[in-house]
Symmetry: C2
Subunit: 477 residues, 2 copies
């Protein structure tokens, strides 16, 4: 039995940050990982997807500028893009990351962790299905669950047997499939349809249950991505469901409208489930397979004694790497503060309260065009009973955007809380909008009044002059 | 004689904005222009320079991404880039802009304006050297001088006779010179050396009097641009002066170190002078050829009666289009407010006070790498007696930057007022940093405390995660 101040389950970016911040605060930390240190994000999600998408975007961007387009004479090189992906995922080897953990003074325990009652974690070493000895870890202060999420499969006849791809398989593909069917219309579906089509697939078909893409965002965002995908030749079928799937050498997908598709691979990107099914949560009275609901300080609800915490995807609150890392930083600091006898600061925007989870979650969808948004959509604000007004403006009418890409098409919108005259949500859709987002995040989080934002001058001629136009629109009424 | 509420001299972006905001506030406005409506920025500065630079940057960006670089088979097409420039400057025709002025309800008067005593402006119609009748304009409320600036020539033997290029000639070049010598190491010199070298010049030589480029910015910014220019083959000679210049078919430049250069064109970019030499300022007791110093509300100092205002380059305060437009918006609003009998709000960050001129001027230098900065440098803060601490971080260590360009090189620094724990300056240097800037501008202008910025989560994996790293650096001490 080995005792630590904190035991962290899961060494993805979230677990790594909890461990790092707690350790920097003076605590001893064990970090348990059953797969690769670095987690989903580093090997099978954010990093490989962006490594694959960037060549597609860079070629597209150059192709939209007269004077540059003459220099770009071919499509992206898929093999080189896949090799680039391999570089960014360190060839699926976590030696570098485990070295970082060691260097940071954190104890890495490789194996499958299961809760075994209060403050106790049993680790079956040797990884999943490994035959190593069991190790028992005890946490003096806290156990933090950062086990993340996995792709969920919808109940479609024959689907599991047809060996579909999920986010893991598509981001780690060895070659670009000639024909791909995508089930889903969310972020993973849109990004990977864009990547696979951009890297040379002949036929990409998206089956989207609803009537639009990215249906949690402002409608114009999904419309922009839809237009971009169709421009690339992706066959996006809205309001369409797969009814039955089978595979011999190829995959056959029968649709509910009677049509049948044949493809080399099938990507399912319809949602995520928490990785709590084999985590021993029943030993502390929780139900396996469910997200771990947490309170404002990330303590798991339904467990007494203030010792079990969770951060990241497994909480179900916000399924985004950066937001989990944010929770992790605040939680690591909080545990360190508690160990020094300090009360945690759980006030709104307090140093241990992940208030942004509620008010200002940023997200970028790396499609072509990109979408970047933070805070509330108009629909969400209405649900909360906020009085708001939305103003929007055509990004293509901003000089900086027109100079960035000939015929630039895009849009931006800001949602203003009319009682406080502060921004509560901002959405951008267009090429290269990803880096426009943080200005919006600071405006929302900082609750900077519009009267003060009027003094924040955008540099001419950058795309950021959209800020000037949006505030001018706001002032018009 | 014709009477207006406001007479604006100069129809560049600054004059256009004063006129527009004043007119939208209910005032009658005459706008006088002797050259092209749209001004320096639209035809001979920001717009053409960026139209020429963007193809260079887009090709370079694609060339730095494995999977994209294989698609890049040549250099930018200079003829296409020049044609792109012609498109963005509307072939040096201001029909579109003058139509906008008409549509906005502003009276456009074409001719050379000269002050003729209090509230009186005499316009020699027909443009500079024109033979049209003189028109006398009277301003009930205000005359606003937005006549801008022009390139100044340093006192170098033979320089004027050698027909050197200034910013006007280089941005409107009909072909890319095979050999170019640039005198200067500031923004125009660096940007145009980058453009001309990027568009295929064989030999670009920069003569820089001081020991670094961009010497008003943080030193690492100039160093990054220096490295970038040298990587492109630009021969940057620091601490070097031209002593004598002559031209037959080619230009010969004798240097003070004894060396002699031969080039097809010579670009002089060593500073700006105010366009007040033939403006009739002597009629109101001011000295021609000087910048028009203004008070906190943009009234020209030394002139009684609160009727003469100035905005933009001609004030000498900040020589940047966007900052002049900012002054223009606030001044236009202020004149409209005054005409309604309201007192102008000239408090710090008040709605009629261009406070950002003092605290938060943003600037982007569109070289490769780019530089983007806002607020104070460490040296400027020291001059003001502020207690500050600077933290910096290698942009190449940010995942979003590494994904943006293979082997990304760049740096960011933030300057913190340690008494208030707010940002007073931020500088970025690296590829594609232009759109990172507005976040910094909002943070500085909004005086958002670092403790709150800690909740502004950058989306992963974007370059904006530099914010996380900078704040982590700040917290380390």
């Amino acid at each position: 039995m080995t005792e630590y101040d904190v035991v962290v389950i899961g060494a993805g970016p979230v677990g790594e940050n909890v461990a790092d911040y707690a350790h920097q605060g003076g605590l001893s930390v064990a970090l348990v990982e059953s797969e690769l240190v670095g987690g989903e994000c580093s090997y099978w999600a954010c990093i490989p997807s962006k490594a694959l998408l960037r060549p597609v975007h860079a070629v597209a961007a150059a192709g939209r500028v007269d004077g540059a387009k003459q220099a770009v004479t071919g499509p992206p090189d898929a093999d080189a893009a896949l090799a680039r992906r391999d570089y960014f995922v360190s060839n699926y080897d976590d030696a570098g990351q485990s070295k970082w953990v060691d260097g940071a003074g954190i104890t890495l325990v490789r194996g499958h962790a299961r809760l075994a009652g209060e403050r106790r974690v049993l680790v079956q070493t040797g990884g999943d299905g490994g035959s190593g000895d069991d190790v028992e870890l005890t946490a003096r202060l806290a156990v933090v669950v950062c086990s993340g999420s996995a792709a969920s499969l919808p109940p479609i006849d024959g689907l599991a047997e047809a060996r579909p791809w999920t986010s893991r398989e598509v981001t780690s593909m060895k070659q670009v499939p000639r024909r791909l069917v995508v089930i889903g219309g969310g972020v993973v579906a849109c990004e990977m349809a864009c990547a696979v089509a951009g890297l040379g697939a002949e036929q990409v078909t998206m089956l989207v249950r609803g009537d639009r893409l990215l249906d949690r965002l402002e409608p114009f965002a999904g419309e922009a991505v839809l237009a971009g995908l169709r421009d690339r030749g992706v066959d996006v079928r809205l309001g369409t469901n797969a009814r039955r799937v089978s595979r011999d050498s190829a995959v056959t997908v029968q649709l509910d409208d009677g049509d049948t598709l044949t493809a080399d691979e099938l990507l399912v990107a319809t949602g995520r489930r928490p990785r709590t099914d084999d985590l021993g949560v029943e030993s502390v009275g929780l139900q396996p397979g469910k997200f771990l609901a947490t309170d404002e300080g990330l303590a798991v609800r339904g467990v007494d004694g203030d010792w079990l915490f969770a951060a990241g995807d497994v909480t179900g609150a916000v399924l985004l790497t950066h937001q989990g890392k944010y929770q992790a930083r605040l939680l690591g600091d909080r545990l360190a503060a508690q160990s020094r006898g300090e009360q945690p600061d759980l006030s709104r925007w307090g140093k241990h309260t992940p208030t942004a989870d509620d008010a200002a979650v940023p997200q970028v969808i790396f499609t072509d065009p990109e979408v970047a948004m933070v805070g509330l959509t108009e629909a969400q604000a209405a649900t909360r009973g906020l009085r708001t007004r939305m103003v929007s403006y055509d990004l293509g009418h901003v000089s900086g955007a027109a100079l960035q890409a000939d015929g630039y098409a895009g849009r931006a919108a800001m949602l203003v809380d009319t009682d406080r005259e502060v921004l509560v949500g901002v959405t951008f859709a267009g090429q290269d909008v990803a880096e426009l987002l943080h200005a919006a995040t600071i405006a929302v989080v900082g609750e900077v009044p519009i009267s003060r934002l009027w003094h924040a001058v955008p540099s001419f001629p950058t795309m950021s002059e959209i800020w000037l136009r949006l505030i001018e629109e706001w002032r018009k009424v």
